[in-house]
């Protein structure tokens, strides 16, 4: 017999509550982190949260629309340059830079997406890889704007007003809270997006593009919008990165960034918001933690990734979910036993 979800199973009833309480706990731990963590660990958390933004973007295009884009690293870098240049030349406030970086990156994605999205599967992936190379070449050679290989140094720390007199956030805990706030807003925005009717259209495109089109979904336009939105998320992440590291250089376009973003999404759990949240903390933290053995760092990192791909192809989020399902089942069973005893 087919199981209907109309009558929740005993273990299923506790799952949402368990999930909610888990989320609240994590959020509370994050908000209070500066009270019990040293600056080095806060730094690792900041980097993890910054990478969460381009990872949201990649999750949108890969997990919800079904297209693998390697260009997230390029858009991350473009966002960093936009924010860095604005902060240096205009002394503009943080909120202005991040909005401008997001908007401009999305705008740049528009003409790139129009030809790229005409391609399918492997050709599209190769094309997005090409975009990273082009972006790096431009950053290296447009010396009057980007200062070439030297890059932009001395990007001001984020401020809340215009000019040099504005208050700057220079402490690590201060920046931590700023990034946390941006990440929470971005995640809420992401959830609203995928829950909207448009999000449903994206999932339809991922599942079967021709069927989606036969439901009246203008698939090509949605794909273009998704490409722009994913670039916007990456660009905003880049803006956070630029004003935190205070240096922006063509090294931002190394494959390391695109790879990290890809690992976060695939390792965490593609097509799940929780997967990306988990992935960004675990993989960035892992990469930072392995700095204690610089020689073996990348080897261990690679081995862990291989083990993960073989053992949990659906990502860490699915693993956690299974654990929670078991816990909820135990809780459900013990409650049931109690009621029987009575």
């Amino acid at each position: 017999m087919a199981i209907t979800l109309d009558t929740p199973q005993p273990q299923g009833r506790h799952l949402p509550a368990l999930r909610r309480s888990g989320l609240v706990l994590i959020l509370a731990a994050l908000v209070m982190a500066p009270l019990y963590l040293q600056n080095y660990y806060l730094h690792a958390l900041i980097i993890a949260m910054i990478f969460l933004l381009p990872a949201h973007g990649l999750n949108l295009i890969l997990g919800y629309t079904g297209m693998l884009s390697l260009a997230q690293g390029a858009f991350f870098g473009i966002g960093a340059y936009v924010a860095g240049l604005l902060a240096i030349h205009l002394g503009s406030p943080f909120w202005f830079n991040i909005v401008a970086a997001g908007a401009l990156t999305a705008l740049i994605a528009l003409p790139l997406g129009i030809p790229a999205l005409r391609l399918r599967t492997v050709s599209f992936v190769m094309c997005t890889l090409g975009l990273v190379v082009i972006a790096q070449t431009v950053a290296k050679n447009w010396i009057s704007l980007t200062k070439g290989d030297m890059g932009l140094s001395g990007v001001p720390r984020p401020s809340f007003g215009w000019g040099a007199s504005a208050t700057h956030i220079s402490s690590i805990p201060g920046y931590y809270y700023l990034v946390l706030a941006v990440v929470i807003i971005a995640t809420l925005g992401f959830v609203a997006l995928i829950k909207s009717p448009a999000g449903r259209c994206m999932i339809a495109i991922r599942d079967n593009e021709t069927l989606a089109e036969s439901f009246g979904v203008p698939t090509w336009r949605y794909k273009l919008i998704v490409f722009m939105l994913s670039a916007m998320f990456a660009g905003m992440g880049g803006a956070l990165y630029a004003q935190y590291m205070t240096v922006v250089s063509p090294l931002m376009f190394q494959m390391y960034y695109s790879n990290t973003i890809l690992i976060i999404v695939l390792g965490g759990g593609v097509g799940r918001v929780s997967g990306v949240l988990l992935g960004s903390f675990v993989f960035v933290a892992l990469s930072e933690a392995l700095r204690i053995t610089p020689e073996l760092r990348m080897i261990i990192y690679g081995a862990i990734l291989l083990a993960l791909v073989f053992c949990f192809p659906q990502g860490l989020a699915r693993l956690v979910e299974q654990g929670m399902e078991k816990l909820a089942a135990v809780k459900g069973a013990s409650k049931e036993a109690l009621t029987h005893e009575r």
Binding site: P197, E213, G216, V217
Partner: protein, 258 residues
């Protein structure tokens, strides 16, 4: 529903080739509003290609496809569905496998409910109201299709027959005026055949939906259709009432057999 003499679909000298291989070499016919038209012919006679050409999945080489007098042969598929209210099924049953049966239906009707692409990004009260109406309509159709017990299951986990019913229900979601069905009875059991036939009749009589049906089960099709069109090697071999078609010697030779 009585058949009116108002052509809803006019196919005029439609030609389509795949490379050097002609699939349709000048097909002409009309479909009147309220009709159920059967489309038969041997494999490779151009039936599915004709559907593809009427729904924007394939561009025609020459000719016209008029929907309510408007040439739609250059329209993309999504526009034909949204503005033309013309929907189709595919030979191979397709559903959105990861989505629940209910969500499949909501998605099928959604683009009919939201006036613009931008409005689908809305999360305000008007979007919520639209979604509520969609969900109600989806649940009505789920009830009619007899899929209530499985509506919260991923469509990919449903049986072949259930997927067929789901596909049929999802085509009625956007309140279409013309439905093209590509082998709706292929690979389903006799009880389900009855159910699908009843659903087609009900949608035709009660809701006034016009149907064009490709089907190899000619007994059932002759019983269902007001008129039958026979395609053979990319051209129209005959067009008549079912009773006349089964007596047509050219059709018997080419397709029906002795």
């Amino acid at each position: 529903m009585s058949v009116e003499t108002r052509p809803i679909l006019r196919v005029r000298d439609v030609r389509k080739s795949y490379g050097s291989l002609p699939a349709l070499s000048g097909v002409d016919f009309d479909v009147q509003a309220g009709e159920v038209v059967g489309l038969i012919g041997p494999n490779g006679s151009g039936k599915s290609t004709l559907f593809d050409c009427c729904t924007g999945l394939q561009r025609i080489d020459s000719g016209e496809v008029l929907l309510n007098g408007t040439d739609i042969s250059r329209w993309p598929m999504h526009r034909i569905v949204r503005q033309g209210k013309l929907v189709r099924s595919f030979q191979k049953t397709v559903v959105l496998g990861t989505q629940t049966a209910e969500d499949n239906l909501i998605l099928a009707g959604q683009m009919n409910c939201f006036p613009s692409l931008l409005s689908t990004f809305g999360i305000g009260p008007s979007a919520a109201r639209r979604m509520r109406l969609l969900r109600e309509r989806a649940n009505e159709l789920i009830e009619i299709a007899g899929l209530s017990r499985v509506r919260h299951l991923p469509a990919g986990s449903l049986s072949g027959g259930q997927q067929k019913l789901l596909q049929f229900a999802s085509m009625l979601m956007p309140e279409p005026q013309l439905v093209l069905l590509d082998e709706p009875l292929a690979g389903i059991n006799p009880i389900l055949i009855e159910k699908v036939i009843d659903s087609i009749r009900d949608a035709n009589r009660r809701l006034g939906v016009t149907f064009v049906v490709i089907e190899h089960n000619t007994d059932v099709l002759m019983d269902l259709s007001h008129r039958v069109i026979v395609l053979h090697q990319g051209t129209k071999l005959a067009e008549d009432t079912p009773a006349a078609i089964v007596r047509n010697s050219a059709v018997v030779d080419a397709y029906l057999g002795g």
